[in-house]
Amino acid sequence: MKPVGMCRMCLVEVEGVRGFPPACTTPVTDGMVVRTRTDAVEKIQEGVLEFLLINHPLDCPVCDRGGECPLQDQTLAFGPGESRFVEEKRHYEKPIPLSNMILLDRERCIQCARCTRFAEEIAGDPLIDFVSRGDRTQVLNFAEQPFESYFSGNTVQICPVGALLARHYRFKARPWDLATAETSCTTCSVHCRGAVQSSSNRIVRLLGVDLDPVNHGWLCDKGRYGIDWVHADDRVREPHLRVGGELREVSWPEALDAAAGEIRKVLRMHGPGAIAVLGGARGTNEDAYAWARLAKGVIGTDHVDCQMGDGLPAEVVLGVRRAEIDDCDRAGAIVVLGPDPREEVPVLFLRLRRAAKDLGVPLFDCTPVGGSLAPYAAHVARRVPGEPVGADVVELAARTARERGGPLVVVAGRPSVAEAPDATVRSIAAFGALDGVDVRVLSALRRGNVHGALEMGLAPGFLPGRVTLDAGREWFTQRWGGVPAGRGLDADGILRAAAEGRVHVLVLLGADPLLDHPDALLARRALEGVPFVVAVDAFRSESAARADVFLPCTVWGEQNGTVTNLEGRVQRVARRVAPEGTAMDDWRIASELAYRLGADFDLATVDEVTDEIAAVAPAALGATAALVRRARDGVVLPLREHLGEIVVRTRGLSILAEEGAGTSWDPIRAGGAAPAGAPAASGEPAPRTRRRRPVPARTRRRPRTRSSTRTPRASAPPTRPRCTSGTVRQAGPPRPRVTRTLCAS
């Protein structure tokens, strides 16, 4: 936000300048001498605070802000001990609603304009402004137009007094009673950093924390205020088992035995292909990893999908060259294919808006229907739903990016579930085929930890760490004792197979296909066609209500672990409250089931799971619990210092990962056709490692003209990957390569 120079608290003396310039609006110059503690300046500070307090109600004992109030702090530090004001203070009705969520106590307002500046400059929702003059100056919304901004909660957080109040938090707690843990919000896949606060073992507030590469301190209201459900009355707090047609509360051993028993029976009678797992995008990376290991390593099924037919193929998400959010700020151009970021990944909208509006990055709005970014777009190119972006737009975007320099960032998600993902995939492919442009894709899949779940292998054909089933077969067989024989079904396929009676056990990992799958009818037939459903969930959703065994799991706020956002950034989420009832972490449930199926994961703490991921999942190499805990901004995978040990390959085309750039980029061709000149997919080159060498800071991807001539060095001798991380030691077969395959046909 731009400095406004209103409060006059920071007036200082500057040598050679007459009067008292405000420090906040005065640029520093060479050799400037500034005095902040002269008698005159201190008198002004005391005077300003006295002014601010004459009409302030001083109702601190009943104010939400009392105890964490900048006005209190400033007064204590710089203010007068007593007021000389003996007149009647200004009075208003207290508080008045600005919207359903935000209340305003105008008596407390000190007119700093933080909220109005945020609403206009940051959120782009100028729905509140100053009204009236003099000491009647007040912030108000406009008549008949409530302050309905998706980001309104931020104004409550930045209000320096208790003028703006959240209906949700008002009178809930005193700041000194709050226990705080830093965590990330997992309402969508942006993973804004936040501080979750509890009082008496109840989560009462989530505050934004400034994480420079991600959220700049902001949260959306969905994330900020969507926390009550953790303690909702209808949380399922104990395991349940269907007895005589009804779900009955049972003990954990009974429930786990029942689930494991059924899985064992079905394995014996029908084989692993009769067991399928849907969901897993809700939990942590550790949950996803443990369930991937249970499903693929222990049970042996590849019918696993964390997306619900509403995302993009895993091959695309894991295979394209990923952009970081910060890339938008320095991009040559940004192309948004959909969805509307403000609806699905709100804080990413703030970042995109800032890049386009404040930093002048040309933004191409290529969503099929108009959205929130259109007013800031340099070009609006509406495409027909289901059709890819036109070649002219691709060329214009490429030319713009080339002329301005900087990467071309493509923001790609699923514009709507009514539209197959093909159009998006083909659009990405078109951008990927460009020459001389550094194209990076920013995934806009919205579901909480969907990127973490995909990276952990909760997708057909994949194993943890961005490797395909085939590429990782040897390595993971060694680590896990086995992997599925062939590629399994995605969510669509699983539901179809279930409807046809070919799935005998369906595990719902926080999944509600009846509500979430685009084809609700198919989901209904599927659930009717499955003889045994295991629900691992916190709520009895319509789908979970169909469960034969219901295993209550912990949720955000009750879990420790790591999550991966849409950039591939791994951050910690923290447990702030004890779980409701006897709810158990997903990874522990997986571990318990595995034990009952004869496999001992030997994982006692969540950190051990994180460390196992860091040791076995190639793209996550080195991302240990200790490292993630230490990293202030989280870590973006794969880790730069481990790049040399991870051979990134595409199907039939080996390209070394660039410094800090995630996986390498290679054009995706529609329909999965391999780039010309590349060997067929079946010609899997032998594993190879690359000798580590320092990566020059400005290494650029080699020109594509050369890359097509690069053939896999099949003759390279298999070597054990070297590992520099002190905490990770591997033995066994060579680490498989991180894989990006072409789009599934």
């Binding site: 006059r8 300003v48 004001f85 000491d135």
Partner: protein, 433 residues
């Protein structure tokens, strides 16, 4: 009392009271002759030079040399705008209103000459909202000037384009402050901007902008006609030329009087305005609009010359907007101070804390004091609160803790109370002298 008005800017409206505002009346008395000549000569720099030689200073209140203001425009940056400050909000000032209502063509001609001098093709007039008649006549004058070819595309075949837009204010005193005026003109809430950047560098729509007062611009045709040096012979010292003074209060003949600078307050009050009602004595008067500090009815003050620099340096008061408000010996200075404070508290835009809260506080205290509820410590309290808005207000040069001078304006009357009426006020709040 022999002083006469020296009518330059007010000549036409006095000569043709029946039709001075019409195009025919104006043309008949020589309007646009100078403008035609300026265009024929085709030398903007020469106009600037004449204005520099004339020593013309802004008639809005601050008295800043007009030519110098123009010279701050950064070279080569276009478009640049001329904004005419017609908001005339200073209490008891009513000279611009007369000029707009009764001689709009003189203003239009001034705007045209100034625009030509600084290279502006689009001028804005920010007119006080209450000037309904002025708005009507000014827009008519602009329309007539355009139809006569004095405005519009290719003015009088010179190749110079000029359009004038009239914008009506919405009743905020603060919008007379040039940066708040610009904000308001842009459609924002009228609040002063932090300087730098100054309007000359980044003003309206972030373009180089000159803001000039109505009277200043109305003087321009005459300066160009007379020649700068000739104009500078009028007046006294650095206060050259004539100025219109709006005399009001307890005088027999309140009104606008154009006089040569250098005559005395006595000339104005007792000469032109006919003296005090019922022939009473002057207790005190406000020499330059409500923002100014006061002077008393002493001979020393009454015989002070109307010289901007002299009164500033000698008495710490300003000629400001040229509004002289006179109070006779029946007046309660506390009540006057309270009424002025009430105005400023009402008009404070709310941007800077000291002004937003301080003006209201001062108003409340003054109300108590003026209505028999004062406490002995109140005058010192007022003085210290005033000092927090305008540090060092008694010992000039004072500074301010606010962005614009509105906050310090409320302190002017307190400083005057303190300086001239301390004993009287103390007696009112229970302190014996």
């Amino acid at each position: 009392m022999s002083v006469e008005e020296r009518r330059i800017v007010t000549r036409r409206l006095h000569e043709r009271p029946e039709d001075s505002w019409t195009i025919d009346g104006a043309l008949a008395s020589g309007a646009y002759r100078v403008w035609r000549e300026v265009l024929r000569t085709g030398d903007p720099a020469a106009v600037q030079e004449q204005v520099r030689l004339s020593g013309l200073r802004g008639r809005g209140g601050a008295g800043f040399p007009t030519a110098q203001k123009w010279s701050f425009l950064p070279e080569g940056r276009y478009p640049r705008y001329l904004v005419v400050n017609g908001d005339e909000g200073e209490p008891s000032t009513f000279k611009d209103r007369m000029l707009v209502e009764r001689d709009p063509h003189q203003l239009v001609e001034g705007i045209a000459i100034a625009s030509y001098a600084i290279g502006c093709n689009l001028a804005f007039v920010y007119l006080r909202g209450e000037f309904a008649l002025g708005y009507e006549r000014l827009t008519q004058a602009i329309a007539d000037a355009r139809s006569h070819g004095f405005l519009g595309r290719d003015v009088l075949g010179s190749g110079f384009d000029l359009d004038v837009v009239v914008h009506r204010g919405a009743g905020a005193y603060i919008c007379g402050e040039e940066t708040a005026l610009i904000e308001s003109l842009e459609g924002e809430r009228g609040m002063p901007r932090i300087r730098p950047p100054f309007p000359a560098v980044e003003g309206l729509y972030a373009k180089p902008t000159v803001v000039n007062n109505v009277e200043t611009l109305s003087t321009l045709p005459h300066i160009v006609e007379m020649g700068g040096e000739e104009y500078a012979k009028l007046g006294v010292n650095r206060s050259t030329g004539t100025r219109i003074f709006s005399v009001s209060g307890h005088v027999k003949r309140p009104g606008n009087y154009e006089v040569e600078l250098g005559v005395t307050f006595r000339d104005l009050v007792f000469g032109l305005a006919g003296g005090i009602r019922d022939d009473r004595a002057v207790k005190f008067f406000i020499p330059g609009g409500a923002s100014s500090q006061w002077l008393t009815g002493s001979d020393e003050h009454l015989d002070a010359p109307l010289d901007m620099d002299f009164v500033q340096q000698t008495y710490g008061v300003m000629l400001g907007s040229g509004a002289v408000m006179v109070f006779d010996d029946t007046t309660d200075p506390l009540l006057v101070a309270w009424r002025l404070a009430k105005f400023f508290a009402h008009e404070s835009c709310g941007k800077c804390t000291p002004c937003r809260e301080g003006t209201g506080w001062i108003e409340k205290v003054l109300y108590r004091m003026a209505h028999g509820m004062g406490r002995p410590e109140d005058l010192d309290l007022l003085f210290d609160v005033g000092d927090n808005i305008s540090p060092g207000v008694v010992n000039a040069p004072f500074t301010q803790t606010t962005i614009c001078p509105l906050g310090p304006s409320v302190v002017s009357s307190i400083a005057s109370l303190h300086r001239y009426f301390r004993d009287e006020v103390q007696a009112r709040v229970g302190v014996s002298a």
